[in-house]
Symmetry: C2
């Protein structure tokens, strides 16, 4: 798998990353919500022991959220290595992560285990294969809660069955501009899928970035989930491309204006709010994707997407930043990279 | 006198230009409004004859509005060489202009003669001296309508007496930002003065540019008018400077942000509307005036102020421009100069 942030994927790519997540629980142990801190930490130890009996500590490491400060933990969230829910379980939450930061096994999130694999571009199968191997290896020495009829048992019934969530992050500026995104939302929900913002469940869509994922986990096979999602994503990509062609034909100068202005502002602002920054980065990304901007690499935009987030900015600073200082640091970062 | 557009006046200067205008009418001839076209043109010939008997045709030339197209005439308006009223009198309107474009003698505007002198910076006395010499020279061979009690007679009673309007163009972004400009308006009106937009009477104030001028022409001497106006202008400059200091202290980064963003947008936009352009140029001017921007000359900003106007853009183009094409040409012009 390839780290999606560093990936210099195809210029015309609308897909930033593909993600597979498997929810697993150990038999006979209460779900994390019902675990007290000592028992939660015991569980982490147990999983780790098992994991490192198969995988090398040279390739993977465990991060214990309870021994980190809030800022460092939030950086992992901003990097999409952990979920908002794990961040709220810091007292017993931990995760195992590979060097390339494409694999993250969260412990004591909503379920005991959340095996997550993220890779660049539209590569769900590759991500699933990796997740599947990890799942099998872990299952060799651990008994996962499993029911013949229901499949894998999970804390939330929406994950029952395969425990699989597959998701793809897409950049859809033209569908947003053309106000067609709502139709896409509706169509997707009819297909048993869902569309969310940059940071998953409950997060707002910012910078025209959307995560499309399967809603249904029960009564369908892993292969079906992935095949269906790929088909839907390809259709959304197609719609986005059609919308881009249309607006570039109809509003060529207006779009170029928006793109170059965005770049101009990013290169000159002294204060940049997060939300505006994401919006401007989206225009620049669209410029790169459509070939209007030629001197910026997509991995630069991905890096800025992550490192311009509040905790990442705070992490790179010695003092505690006020909102305004953060806006300044964001502007400095963006200027230095573009 | 120095052409204000080309002038590289002091960086901290808030004053762009000083203007003196004298309204004069020839005795025994109806005011322009009552003159038909042949009689209007006869008057122009008569004034010209007189003028060129004293001044050389090498230094001055006459522009007959009736033999020009609308665009060329509008360019003179945009250069502040003629007034909107003269532009509405093209069938009999004309003006004599010097090479440096600091002197303009309008004929058949509201009055038979409008002697106008514009110079760079706060130099009303210099402009008045030049206007006065022209006035005296013209009066040697022409009988101006004059009443012992009322002074010079003019078409509009507001110009009776001295027929003098002195005005100063000021850049007042801080007073606008701080919403103190309304107070200045009120204070000025109590002092028998008035404040107007970029293109004089009835024009909107755009780009934070204002023309302060005397309202009263009757019962005060020319010297008093000028002395009073200079005093008022100096006070406004002082208030603007205080406001600048205050906002730069209080909102230093926000102001810098506005200034650098404005420059960034001007340097990268593909489409630029006139009104937005004037607003952005004002921020850049403020940047230059406060020393935040160091690599831009004020005369460049003055030139852009004029040449980014609709007629000037049209004049420099072979085809008839639509609004959108004009916005494109404006963006190209601005980009090439900044």
């Amino acid at each position: 798998m390839e780290n999606w942030v560093k990936a210099k994927n195809e210029m015309e790519d609308i897909v930033l990353s593909s993600r597979i997540r498997l929810a697993r629980n150990l038999q006979g142990i209460p779900f994390p919500d019902k675990l007290d801190i000592p028992n939660g930490k015991d569980l982490v130890n147990k999983i780790e022991e098992n994991f490192y009996s198969v995988y090398s500590q040279e390739d993977y490491k465990t991060i214990y959220l309870w021994s980190n400060d809030r800022v460092s933990n939030s950086v992992y969230l901003e990097k999409h290595l952990i979920s908002p829910k794990l961040l709220n379980n810091t007292h017993k939450g931990a995760f195992i992560c590979d060097k390339e930061q494409t694999v993250s096994i969260m412990m004591n999130e909503e379920d005991h285990l959340r095996i997550q694999c993220i890779t660049a571009g539209l590569n769900l199968k590759e991500a699933y294969e990796t997740a599947n191997i990890l799942d099998n290896k872990l299952e060799e020495n651990m008994q996962f809660a499993f029911d013949e009829k229901l499949g894998y048992l999970t804390a939330c019934p929406t994950n029952l069955g395969t425990g699989l969530r597959a998701s793809v992050m897409l950049h859809l500026p033209a569908l947003v501009m053309e106000k067609e995104i709502e139709q896409v939302f509706t169509a997707i929900s009819h297909l048993g899928m869902t569309i969310r913002g940059l940071y998953g469940e409950g997060s707002r869509s910012e910078g025209n970035l959307f995560q499309v994922s399967n809603q249904v986990t029960l009564g369908v096979s892993e292969q079906e989930i992935i095949t269906n999602l790929i088909a839907v994503v390809k259709q959304i990509i197609n719609q986005e491309n059609i919308a881009r062609e249309r607006i570039l034909k109809k509003y060529n100068y207006e779009i170029q204006d928006k793109i170059y202005r965005a770049l101009g502002i990013l290169r000159s602002a002294i204060l940049l709010e997060n939300s505006e920054c994401l919006k401007l980065l989206s225009y620049v990304r669209m410029g790169v994707e459509t070939g209007i901007i030629k001197d910026i690499e997509k991995n630069t935009l991905n890096e800025l997407l992550i490192y311009s987030q509040p905790a990442s900015l705070q992490k790179n600073s010695k003092e505690t930043l006020s909102k305004k200082q953060r806006d300044m640091q964001r502007a400095i970062l963006i200027k230095s990279k573009l």
